[in-house]
């Protein structure tokens, strides 16, 4: 309640709706001022913008920001709206939270809200000639308006920006991204080191990277838009296809969010199984990270060693779920089917098998002088930068930011197991690398404690055939392989979500590439990309 009092003090005009996470609604003119105070007031210090959701409420357009303070660990929603549907404008908060930079571009892309003073108001995912803004409820989805275009969408070298002059006039200016005489190289969309169809435009001075401009959207599938016309059980299938290396964890988040909204209490056995599966998924993801980083650095043998061991993890997942990459295992109220009788034995074998292999990794790669020189002091991400860019997960923890959702807001059975949250303070590529290797050990440690203690019971509870979420808004996040994966659902009591937003851990990772790679060499850019370990379908959604 102190929190609400404090917010009332700084924002007298705001309406505050109490709840597990209070919802602070401010009118558009006060939005920026309140945001600034929330960010800079020492009692509140909301320095981490978890998730920015663009919303269309029918009569008004706006955003819902989920804010967290890393110092005080409290969360609020900050909501604002504008009723002008023709030319919606809001002030930017991208200078308060860097992560808002790409997120506001996303909101502009999907809802057409112009953010005043935002430095770069381009569309983020869709083509520049796309007609309409798809997440608006009055969006015209007629294929004649947006046919499959066969011509190339030229990327401009300038970007529009809507700037407010001191007297309150808003005028459009253009910022230059790349000068005409800069040596701009396209890294991607098809490039071995971007691990997917991601496109960096890199301005080079010889071997030195001067600037990186990220272009997303090559694998944008409009998952959030599709979810609005699907029933809740149907939406589950899409989470596996966001970050396919965190398929279980993503789906876990969505299932928990829906279960919380419905008030379903899942059996203990389900919690154990879900936790075990999450950790197996983390193992497979981190092993893949190791392999791919080594390959990016030119150590091809290491790549195959990593895949050899990841195979064992996939085999375990496969015996239970039948899938290797995309498992479709969690369902609302439990899991699809009980774990395979062999699973426990196989997991125990894996716990014995992996540690010697990790030693081998260390002899082969970690201790190698070339590898160390390529990674140490390269791409240093400071703790403050990690927070303001919202870079969570192993990357954030390698910068010294304690951001493990498993520790801070435990779910599943993470409150019952003993594990360390690994933290490094260096924030360089080598710390990010070691962070993940240590997390593999920690995951094995978690599995060791769980695998013998899976309680008997049902693997799912019965749910109604038609699931309708009570009216309201819900947020749930889990620690996915790459960081905090969150689901924000706004429901109007239908069997379809009114709005479903996925907080992707990889979009912030991509947004720091420019910060980290500037001034480094091309080879450093590859090392930075490798250690950030983004998965492109999760960026684009």
């Amino acid at each position: 309640m102190e929190l609400i009092e404090a917010i009332r003090n700084i924002a007298p005009g705001a309406t505050i709706e109490e709840g597990a996470i209070p919802m602070v609604t401010v009118a558009a003119p006060q939005y920026r001022e309140v945001a600034w105070k929330l960010r800079n007031n020492p009692e509140l210090s909301f320095d981490y913008l978890i998730c920015m959701t663009g919303m269309d409420w029918g009569d008004s357009l706006g955003v819902v920001n989920l804010l967290q303070s890393t110092a005080h660990e409290h969360k609020i929603y900050l909501k604002t709206f504008t009723t002008n549907r023709e030319e919606p404008e809001l002030h930017t908060v991208s200078d308060l939270w860097e992560t808002a930079n790409l997120n506001e571009r996303e909101v502009y892309d999907f809802l057409g809200i112009h953010f005043i003073n935002h430095p770069d108001m381009r569309r983020l995912f869709l083509r520049s000639d796309w007609v309409g803004h798809p997440l608006r409820k009055d969006y015209n989805a007629d294929p004649a308006l947006n046919p499959i275009r066969l011509e190339n969408d030229e990327l401009p070298d300038t970007t529009p920006s809507y700037e407010e002059s001191p007297d309150g006039e808003i005028h459009e200016t253009r910022h230059v991204i790349f000068d005409g005489d800069e040596y701009v190289v396209n890294l991607g969309p098809q490039h071995p080191a971007t691990h997917g169809v991601l496109h960096f435009r890199v301005s080079l001075d010889g071997e030195i990277v001067k600037k990186v401009d990220v272009n997303c959207g090559y694998i944008h599938r409009g998952i959030e838009k599709m979810c609005e016309s699907l029933t809740y059980p149907q939406t589950l299938a899409y989470t596996d296809r966001l970050d396919y290396l965190g398929a279980h964890q993503n789906r876990h988040a969505l299932c928990m969010c829906i279960e919380e909204a419905l008030g379903i209490e899942v059996p203990e056995r389900v919690k154990y199984i879900r936790t075990i599966m999450d950790e197996l998924q983390r193992l497979s993801s981190h092993l893949l990270f190791w392999s791919c980083l080594c390959m990016d650095m030119g150590a091809l043998t290491a790549f195959l060693y990593g895949f050899r061991d990841r195979e064992k993890v996939l085999d375990i997942l496969e015996t239970t779920t039948g899938g290797r990459l995309i498992q479709n295992y969690n369902v609302i109220g439990g899991v699809m089917d009980d774990i395979h009788p062999d699973s426990v034995k196989k997991i125990k074998e894996l716990i014995k098998y992996l540690p010697p292999m990790l030693k081998e990794y260390n002899t082969l790669y970690t201790g190698n002088i070339i590898a160390q020189q390529r990674l140490k002091h390269i791409g240093i991400l400071k703790r403050e930068d990690a927070i303001t860019y919202g870079v969570t997960g192993p990357t954030g923890r390698a910068s010294g930011w304690s951001c493990d959702v498993r520790k801070h807001t435990p779910y599943g059975v993470y409150d019952k197991v003993d594990f360390k949250e690994i933290l490094y303070t260096e924030g360089d590529s080598f710390a990010r690398y070691l962070q993940r290797l240590d997390e593999i050990m920690e995951s094995l440690h978690i599995l060791e404690q769980l695998v013998d203690n899976i309680p008997a019971g049902d693997y799912a509870v019965k749910t109604k055939p038609i699931i309708k979420l009570p009216e309201g808004h819900y947020f749930k996040s889990v620690e996915a392989s790459r960081g905090e994966f969150g689901v924000y659902i706004e429901s109007r009591g239908d069997k379809y979500p009114y709005r479903m937003k996925f907080r992707s851990p990889c979009l912030p990772l991509v947004s720091v590439v420019d910060l980290l790679a500037r001034g480094g060499k091309i080879a450093d850019l590859i090392a930075i990309g490798g250690t950030l370990d983004y998965v492109v379908p999760d960026v684009d959604r």
Binding site: C294, G298, A299, L300, T301, L304, I370, D524
Partner: protein, 358 residues
């Protein structure tokens, strides 16, 4: 020990018996050229097969095993595929230079290949500045690579070519200096003489410390010269896709590919000739019986065997180490290898002047 000059003299005599002088020389040149090209192609294929198998075993794989027994026919299948592939014409390239580049690369490597002493009496050309000639012709290859990168009119290729230029010109220095160390020791640049001098023990043993240092430096610099991992920056796959040969297709790409393997062979051939006695069998002064037994192994097997050992070491490098960054690569050369090399040269001079060698 069998001397191949018997065979060559017999062919020479045979030709001269019914052909005039000039015609004999022309026919001999053609024959030698043919032999070299066939040898070149066969060695390249063998190397491609060996590399694929060796790297597979390093990586817990089987490697090629479907085409022919143990996949032995795989490189032939690859070669025919490469030969029949279309050479794609690319717009916006400098057509003449673009087509010239692979030939420059392959000519440099064939010329260097021709200088190697394969066995006793089996050498194309042997003149008093043989080693000097070898260094000179092997450096032509860099022109080809620079041309390839420049003429492709592709930003990636250009970065690759520039990296390659910086790298090869730098490492040329180390190669030259480490070879010079051995030339100081041998007192001659003639390849046959260098090999003959190692009759009483290979230079790497007789020259002890400076020779071993020179050998290690030569191996490092030689790997860098051939653009192989961990020095494969010019074609760093994860950074530049394929570097200077990104735009090449069909047999033009095949030339770069062949030249890479043959350059590896040339580097190991030179290493064996200078440090490991070339085709000279392993002799220990005083052990007459042992030396005699060693002489029964044909000289060509000695030479190829030594090359194989050196090449295995180079492959081992490649499949173990990650890639260096360009500034680290140049720092290694200019700050460590060159000063060490100069010191080593001085050391060798001292060793030779005061007769401190075996």
């Amino acid at each position: 020990m069998f001397d191949f000059s018997v065979v060559t003299h017999w062919i020479d005599g045979l030709l001269r018996s019914f052909l005039p002088e000039a015609a004999t020389i022309v026919v001999e040149c053609v024959l030698i050229g043919l032999c070299l090209l066939v040898g070149y192609a066969l060695i390249a294929l063998a190397l491609i097969y060996a590399e694929r198998k060796i790297c597979a075993f390093f990586q817990c794989r089987l490697g090629p095993n479907r085409v022919g027994p143990y996949g032995l026919c795989q490189p032939f299948a690859d070669m025919f595929k490469m030969l029949t592939k279309e050479i794609i014409e690319i717009n916006h390239v400098d057509r003449f230079l673009f087509n010239l580049a692979p030939f420059m690369v392959i000519i440099a490597s064939v010329l260097a290949f021709g200088c190697l002493p394969f066995a006793k009496g089996l050498q194309v050309i042997d003149f008093n500045v043989g080693i000097f000639f070898l260094i000179a012709v092997s450096s032509i290859g860099i022109v080809g690579i620079l041309l390839a990168g420049w003429a492709s009119n592709n930003k990636y290729s250009l970065i690759g070519a520039m990296r390659s230029g910086a790298q090869m010109i730098s490492y040329e220095l180390s190669i030259g200096l480490s070879i010079m160390t051995l030339v100081v020791f041998a007192g001659t640049m003639q390849i046959t003489e260098i090999v003959e001098l190692q009759n009483d023990g290979w230079f790497i043993f007789r020259g002890h410390i400076p020779a071993i240092i020179a050998f290690v430096i030569y191996l490092v610099a030689g790997t860098a010269e051939t653009n192989r991992g961990p020095f494969d920056l010019p074609e760093a796959e994860s950074e530049l896709t394929a570097g200077y040969h990104t735009e090449y297709s069909g047999m033009h790409f095949g030339f770069f590919y062949l030249a890479e393997y043959l350059n590896m062979f040339v580097v190991s051939g030179v290493a064996s000739t200078l440090f490991l006695g070339g085709w000279m069998p392993f002799h220990v002064p005083g052990w007459e019986g042992f030396n005699h037994v060693m002489d029964y192994i044909p000289s060509i097997i000695w030479f190829l065997g030594k090359c194989a050992v050196v090449m295995f070491i180079i492959m081992w490098f490649k499949w173990t180490f990650p890639r260096l960054r360009i500034d680290q690569l140049l720092r290694l050369e200019w700050k460590y290898l060159v000063p060490l090399n100069l010191f080593n040269l001085l050391l060798m001079v001292v060793v030779v002047v005061f007769n401190l060698h075996f």
